[in-house]
Subunit: 275 residues, 2 copies
């Protein structure tokens, strides 16, 4: 998918919502457990109930790996279902991978070719040659961790050099010099709204994937104040707040209701900004 | 596995060699490709040829994920084979995972419970709550990236704060305060021998997993000068230099020859140090 196609979809749907498909068998409605592949059936129901008001889906690979081979099968079926039925929706493998050069190419092949995701999340610790192999894939996006929403995000990401520049700023600035850096996006937690202005000064044009709205306490309005750019430039992720809003048979209907609340809020913001 | 069991194995085999099982279908001998699961057959042959002179095996998950479901099946069969036939050998899932708390627990379950590896590699960027979930598993080890052997390792890991402390040093120091930190090991590249003294000052007692000897140019003697401690404290990994030493039908025999060269060198070092 190209960036223009993503922007077009956002403008058409009046939504920059991403739904996290983090499926936990202990949290999904009990009636699904009797089916052959409860994880896939859960995802299918969520997708069918929300595809017209969300622009992206983001399965976190940890939830699938935890179920071994069966989990990988559920992940394969989910991405195949999305690519077949809703090819215009942006797909994110939330895998947070990263390794030395030739090994990163293997991960890139796994997610971009074998599974055919539009994007994958990566960790920056190993630097340029751990990320550039992902950027070599055309019309695919690499979403790098910058400033994360969790408590431990503060352990290292705010470390300052002698000039007062923080690690996450260095990660952003350095990555702009990497080959095909226009195919980068960045993960910035919604729980850190005070940093969005600084981040937009460094990466004015790139998309930011923003987890942490809802369950983790982030505020949509605050994020949008400095996060939006002329291309919208934001994908706001919500996982638990949408997919586990109801533990009952009507889970998909309630998930739609929750997603719609966020989409309506986004519509107002986009209208106000004339986007 | 406990740390004492690992040390006991090293002393008995006079070896602290780890063999990386990074299997690439384009590099393995052609005659294996006709078999049902060439990746597993390759691993089995390498294991049978080297299990008495190596103390650890380290499959890098990227190589398996690249082959989709079939790749995960090969990985499952490889670790099951090791656990059944050579349960005293230390196993490392080189996965470089890391995510927010409850998600990291999922990864930990995937590698420690479902696949039953003794250890897994993790990335430090997301801090304490991305790593502590792995440390919660008893008799399992979490091997965190500290100073990596690749070119991009220099992009961020040597960033200095106002007092001159580098990021990798901060990662080491901070992690010592995490719950169950005695179950940590650290990845330190063999291409950075000049840093081993500093690292040993910060983490005198922990094991270091050292990739980069051989193909990447690291020198075993140099690494041992400052890397060894009273518990040996080193696992030296070699992948390509051993497993792809021959592209012919005798690949396992030649792999043993290469592994034996390293083991003999290790034996001399251990004898000299009276370990």
């Amino acid at each position: 998918m190209t960036k223009q196609e993503l922007i077009h979809q956002i403008k058409a749907k009046r939504s920059f919502l991403c739904i996290g498909l983090d499926v936990d068998l202990e949290k999904i409605p009990a009636h699904l457990l009797q089916l052959d592949d409860p994880v896939f059936e859960f995802n299918k129901a969520i997708i069918e109930a929300t595809h017209d008001i969300t622009v992206a889906y983001k399965p976190n690979t940890a939830f699938y790996e935890a179920y071994g081979l069966k989990g990988w099968e559920s992940l394969s079926k989910t991405i195949a279902y999305l690519n077949e039925n809703y090819p215009s929706i942006f797909t994110i493998a939330d895998a947070k991978r990263g390794d030395i050069g030739n090994t990163s190419t293997r991960y890139a092949k796994a997610f971009f070719e074998d599974l055919n995701f539009d994007s994958v999340t990566v960790a920056p610790y190993m630097g340029s040659d751990s990320v550039e192999p992902f950027l070599a894939f055309e019309n695919k996006f690499t979403i790098m961790l910058a400033l994360t929403s969790n408590k431990g995000g503060l352990d290292f990401q705010l470390m300052q050099d002698e000039k007062g520049a923080t690690l996450y700023e260095k990660v952003l600035k350095t990555s702009l010099g990497w080959k095909n850096s226009e195919q980068l996006m960045y993960v910035v937690g919604a729980t850190r709204p005070e940093y969005f202005q600084k981040i937009r000064n460094i990466v004015p044009d790139h998309f930011l994937l923003v987890p942490g709205v809802g369950a983790q306490g982030g505020d949509l309005q605050e994020v949008c104040t400095y996060g939006l750019n002329n291309d919208i430039g934001l994908l706001i992720n919500s996982s638990r707040g949408i997919i586990y809003a109801s533990p009952n048979e009507n889970f998909a209907e309630i998930a739609r209701k929750k997603a719609l609340e966020l989409q309506k809020e986004m519509q107002v913001i986009l209208d106000e900004k004339g986007l």
